[in-house]
Symmetry: C2
Subunit: 129 residues, 2 copies
DNA sequence: CCTTGACCTTCCAGTAACAGGAACCCCTAT
DNA sequence: ATAGGGGTTCCTGTTACTGGAAGGTCAAGG
């Protein structure tokens, strides 16, 4: 299967698939004309990668997860550790974003948003002398 | 004031301050020896920038906000629009992160995390045939 | 006077994960 | 023969810095 069709099936842009090959996440065969030829296994991997990336795992996490996925003798603890660390990262980002949201939404709500210059948003960014 | 002291006062790394000068967010004077000399106004701006960045505004947003901040004839609507758009971005990221968190925490909770290979996390990333 | 150490300077490279675009090849249909 | 819609590689740019090398400056101590 060519890259265009593979992109459709996996939902990944062709550019991304080429990039994944470049960084050795996948290694599709080549046809005589130089076109990439994706196997079922390649599709499988790409779909796996697409899901892991959608869950926010880094590429390096994905590399490790992919290796564990293919190693049927893995210990689930290894997978759980990676996922757990990522979960902690997500939780931290959530906390930060929620704090930003609280502050910013208060500021935005308090701003008239008209043609006058008075602006509580800028005031909120102003150094408290 | 030299850059080291300025860094302490603003909480920004010296590297970051140099970078802000490079992209023309600030323009401190130079002493005869070539050292940057930060004025009170520079400190003010840097603190403003630090707060805006902490709220997640992009550098380009900061550039605009800084210009509005210094323009006493601004319309608060201009500020509110930028902040509102950023708020929407934050809300979208929050939604995405919450979805990731829900999925991933379920998967992590269901994984034994021992030395056996069975792993619901990997299963969850597996393409549904 | 010399050295040591803490500053400061510029410049170059690298980060994460691609996206955009140029220049060019391949295949099929008209 | 040509037009189009694939495909290929290679190079650059993105965001907001961070790390490090090579070297200038300054105050204090021996």
């Amino acid at each position: 299967m060519n890259i265009g069709q593979t992109a459709k099936q996996t939902g990944l842009p062709a550019k991304t698939i080429r990039y994944y090959e470049e960084i050795d996440l996948i290694a599709p065969h080549r046809d005589a004309n130089g076109y990439r030829a994706f196997s079922e296994a390649d599709l499988h991997k790409l779909t796996f990668l697409a899901r892991a990336r959608a869950l926010g795992f880094t590429i390096e996490d994905c590399r490790t997860l992919l290796a564990l996925w293919e190693d049927t003798t893995r210990a689930s603890a290894d997978v759980k550790r990676i996922a757990g660390e990522h979960l902690a990262t997500i939780e931290q980002k959530l906390t930060e974003l929620q704090a930003m949201h609280a502050t910013l939404s208060t500021l935005v709500a308090s701003c008239a948003g008209d043609d006058r210059p008075e602006c509580p948003i800028l005031d909120g960014l102003e150094p408290l002398t």
